[in-house]
């Protein structure tokens, strides 16, 4: 490895993104699922800042800031929804939640 280039950062973010996807696809616990989604958002933040840094363009940073705020809002709402599910069903396993189908 000669020099750390943009390739490395993007590849790292792609790896973390895929780990997030894998988490969503394999786990059943709603909260862990949700954390996996956070991993995905975080990976795009990494890529954004890497791009911004290599382009000397601050837009990426600002966008990353916005994404953090969006993630915070999503976490709030998401956890609230998970808690309502828990209150009614006493479980947050997503496989227990399949009343509606077909």
């Amino acid at each position: 490895m000669s020099e750390i280039t943009i390739h490395h950062y993007i590849a790292l973010s792609a790896i973390i993104f895929s780990i997030g996807v894998a988490g969503v696809l394999t786990r059943k616990n709603a909260i862990i699922l949700f954390m996996s989604i956070e991993l995905m958002l975080n990976s795009s933040n990494l890529a954004l800042i890497a791009f911004a840094s290599f382009m000397s363009n601050p837009v990426g940073q600002i966008f990353a800031l916005f994404v953090i705020a969006v993630a915070a809002a999503e976490v709030g709402v998401g956890l609230a929804i998970i808690v309502t599910v828990y209150r009614n069903r006493n479980s947050i396993n997503i496989d227990d939640v399949h009343l509606m189908k077909g």
């Binding site: 943009i6 996807v21 862990i32 991993l39 933040n45 840094s53």
Partner: protein, 184 residues
């Protein structure tokens, strides 16, 4: 020096991310996720985005993760987590799919000639400071910034709408009975 730091930090991030999705106990997952965020914050510092690194730690690792942890603890999920290990087929398909996503992404990232698209990494030390970002946020980006504010406000209202309950307490025979009066 930077090279070594990058390698260490990226290994930390990847490893902790893997731990997040593989832990049985959600509390452990949350803690690994905090760890992951620290690794990412280190990478931000490496890229010169100091302010973002700070925000990452304060907002993400600090606030958001505490919220997660709080909910996990409140629901006492250690006891109720009955995630079945049974459906191995679904899990392996999921793993394969995410693996393919990774292959696809890395392949296209490899073939893209990024060097043609980019200049060099910034050397400007001021690039990622709060002053620089703040002046942008409050001039050109003011309206989008306000939209983010509205977004957070909407989320607050949403959470209140979902969670707010009227709790009445009354004392009967010396025992305090709490009653939830929950409409809808």
């Amino acid at each position: 020096m930077i090279k070594i730091a990058f390698i260490i930090l990226s290994l930390i991030s990847i490893f902790s991310a893997l731990m997040v999705i593989s832990r049985k106990n959600p509390v452990a997952s949350v803690l690994w996720l905090v760890f992951h965020f620290f690794g990412i914050a280190g990478l931000y510092v490496l890229l010169g985005a100091h302010f973002l690194a700070a925000v990452q730690i304060i907002v993400y690792a600090g606030a958001i993760m505490v919220l997660f942890l709080f909910v996990v603890m409140m629901l006492n999920l250690n006891l109720v987590n009955n995630e079945k290990r049974g459906k191995i087929i679904g899990k392996s398909i999921g793993a394969v799919v995410s693996g393919l996503v990774l292959v696809l992404f890395t392949y296209s990232i490899r073939t893209t000639k990024w060097n043609e698209l980019f200049f060099n990494q910034v050397t400007d030390q001021e690039w990622g400071t709060a002053v620089k970002l703040g002046s942008l946020l409050f001039s050109n980006w003011l309206v989008p910034f306000q939209i983010v504010g509205i977004l957070l406000f909407a989320a607050v209202i949403g959470v209140v709408a979902l969670m707010k309950r009227k709790i009445t307490r009354k004392v009967e025979n010396g025992i305090v009975i709490t009653q939830e009066e929950d409409v809808a």
